[in-house]
Symmetry: C2
Amino acid sequence: MTQRIEFQTQPERYRHWKLRCEGEVAELIMDVDEAAPLFEGYQLKLNSYDLGVDIELADAVQRLRFEHPEVKVVVLKSGKERVFCAGANIRMLAGSTHAHKVNFCKFTNETRNGIEDASANSGQKYLCAIRGTAAGGGYELALATDRILLADDGNSSVALPELPLLAVLPGTGGLTRVTDKRKARRDLADAFCTVEEGVKGARAVKWRLVDQAVANSKFEAAVKEAAAKLAATSDRPGGDARGVALTPLERKIEADAVTYSCVKVEIDRATRRATVTIQGPGEPPPATAQTMWEQGAQFWPLRLARELDDVLLHLRLNEGETGVLIFKSQGDPTQVLAYDAFIAANKDHWLAREILHYWKRVLKRIDLTSRSLVALIEPGSCFAGTLAEIAFACDRSFMLIGAQKGDNRQPATLALSALNFGPYPMSNGLTRLATRFLGEPESVEKAKAETGKALDAETAEELGLVTTALDSVDWDDEVRIFLEERSSFSADGLTGMEANLRFAGPETMETKIFGRLTAWQNWIFQRPNAAGAEGALKRYGTGVKASFNPERV
Amino acid sequence: MTQRIEFQTQPERYRHWKLRCEGEVAELIMDVDEAAPLFEGYQLKLNSYDLGVDIELADAVQRLRFEHPEVKVVVLKSGKERVFCAGANIRMLAGSTHAHKVNFCKFTNETRNGIEDASANSGQKYLCAIRGTAAGGGYELALATDRILLADDGNSSVALPELPLLAVLPGTGGLTRVTDKRKARRDLADAFCTVEEGVKGARAVKWRLVDQAVANSKFEAAVKEAAAKLAATSDRPGGDARGVALTPLERKIEADAVTYSCVKVEIDRATRRATVTIQGPGEPPPATAQTMWEQGAQFWPLRLARELDDVLLHLRLNEGETGVLIFKSQGDPTQVLAYDAFIAANKDHWLAREILHYWKRVLKRIDLTSRSLVALIEPGSCFAGTLAEIAFACDRSFMLIGAQKGDNRQPATLALSALNFGPYPMSNGLTRLATRFLGEPESVEKAKAETGKALDAETAEELGLVTTALDSVDWDDEVRIFLEERSSFSADGLTGMEANLRFAGPETMETKIFGRLTAWQNWIFQRPNAAGAEGALKRYGTGVKASFNPERV
């Protein structure tokens, strides 16, 4: 698996999905090309999926939000005759490294959360119409939608057969959504998750696993009716609005660098660090929402969000040995604040709303990136408002007091905007500042009072907004020591520590999925019963039963 | 590690702790005998601990609640000169099996939660007086107390050096309590957890890691003053009340069975099942609280709770291959309800209060036991009130309709009492019935309306209180199939699945510790960077640096 995994795609290039938009209701049809797996060595039979299939799904979900403001309901269905979706491809999983398995699951979980975010925040509801078997990840996909209709035809079923078949968990949110979203009774959930063949018809409704079981003859009509009902609950702009095209990213890939229009990543392989430099806006925000819409994918906040998102995915999947991400920025902080103010002023415009929610998701993607994150806030930087949020997402931040010798740029400042105090909640439901100041909520208010001001390093440190303010005498040494120290620690230990320290405060279904469910799944992915040579993943389909160590831990 | 681990002890037998009770304030002094480890192969230097040390601590915490109603504040301190506690013994960890590490951590976490439970619910507050280094588990112990005083002497410090030294997490609640109880700022927490030597004095206060840093000369006085302040907040009965002695358990251990006064465990090694049979009360509850107090440890609910607790720990640590626990009961359900009514009526008596909270903790211990749990509710059983709660803690429950041929006992019934609706919350803060019926809260009310009634199998199934009601024709086959099926699954997959399905609904600090923190720690305990031959645990103290795989997952 040394080929570079590409996260950019577009509907014309889809191999596995068909997206049909007609008025308020779109159809998103899963029709996996079994001959087009992401890697060699397996076929995507029975509408099973791998990361390649999910990259297309994530792209479709994203385009539906930006390119189709008229779409109020998305009907998710299968393009195959007798199967809805067989879930994640088992041979792919069996042949994958631990790291690929973990990152594959994380991405699929983010995509499912994205579906729920579209429904909760963009008025784009999802309906799942299941004909045939929806097993494992197939049913988990259904679980991410607002309403599940199951054909009551003696054949169609929902199932989470991971435990009996593969000795792993339904880890794409499956267990958590069954108990916390569908709120199935725990003993019935237990029964459900141990029945390979799954559950059908009326029992699936009774166990709260689907919303409706409908006879085949009435299925199409029921789907239509349910779609119309969901559409009626949507605050999506509808018919008149026109979307903005998510045009291909400007991107140049070199051996140790990726350069976008306003992001650059430089990778130092010797030290295993990547420096992500963000370029502030080159011009002030447009005067009107109409101009923002005309700029479309070129509108700086949207362009940057897309580029940053691509960077994060690229680093996660293609640069596994990079242990530390260093965030830097360059530009005019007042311009960044001007963009924030523009978006805040236009937040009722559907496109501004989409951009805000997209930034929220990109920032969550940072929170969930299992690399050490550090912000270096230096002269010439523009960590203001939305960009300051990146510094708050970091495990540590260093800010230079004054300037380095010979540098005659203005000393670094940090600035807050209204967007730091609400629109970008973390997975735990709190803003980064509220999470940061859990023990001293008055500090959030104190920071809020400084909104819009250019805070120098000492003030930012005093307000608790950066970890350390350093003068030019100490800067190089302190930063170097931190980076070297970080490189000396165990990669796994850091992953576990950061996954705990980043999410103080309340838990939500989302944090439960990434904390509890994912952590247990990662553990199981390491255990011989699943992943060993005689384990269930390796032995699946060979006709030889897996050999299990019965010890309970 | 094939010797049986014994969880019963008493102060006269302590090797590692001294308990001094004088009036309202007790001193619990950690003074580990380095020559008395639980297993061979390591010495407990620097007040480090192993499971044996923690078993004594758990015993002391428990006795303080039952035997010392006069104690309002417990001062936790070290009996060594220059060290408070160096945490879990590293050689012990390095030499332990994965299963022992996991179960050791679980037990220590339960003990720390028990300390917090005493403070929150029994008015028995804990104060930690740190002189010397409190590192790793030593600081985690401090974190479990209400107030931490640190000597400001240039030497005393608090530290969580697990990541830098050992490539593992501060897994005994450490990370979670730093962020969620102490509410330390995440970047400072990150800095703290990466500094081997820890943090001292004023900085420890500023970072919210301790409550007070006090000069050596004033330390004793400050501890006294803080203890008096805490005592003033306590609703503990105080001076007049006399405790009840937790006398040694009646217990007979045989090769495949352990028999107590009202619990019997039979282990079938071929099928890897243990049957836990609970005996209901032999006589009605006493007439007065005074008589309950006179019965003391013989009072049936207390006796049963202690025996059941011992069973759970024995099975976890000494019977690792037992995959399924089958709970049965025998006795008169009306007697069980009478005891529940007696306790509910006397819940303001300190002893009844202790017993209720103890049952809560025992039931939590069941929830957290990583074995499949099933209740078989048969004629002659007494799953009523508190005992019904055990069935609700199970992954599945089967209830027989009518009787087996030739059995002329009354058919099985299930009954609810007031104790099913409040006093026994799970770690998630909800009752088991509220968790069970998360999706249909009206079912809790429906069940409540049936309080006190003897519900037959079909009614119990209809009310959703048992998984399956079966008649005598199907009983044997269905139960057998379930048990065989369970045995065929991967032990790890079951552990992960059950840890997810049992805890629907909200999360608390406690569930975060057992879900997020523990699951990540277990993952790390499997990773070569920590546990491999070249990993940090194995290489610690050898002078050879650990060799790490830098891949980030």
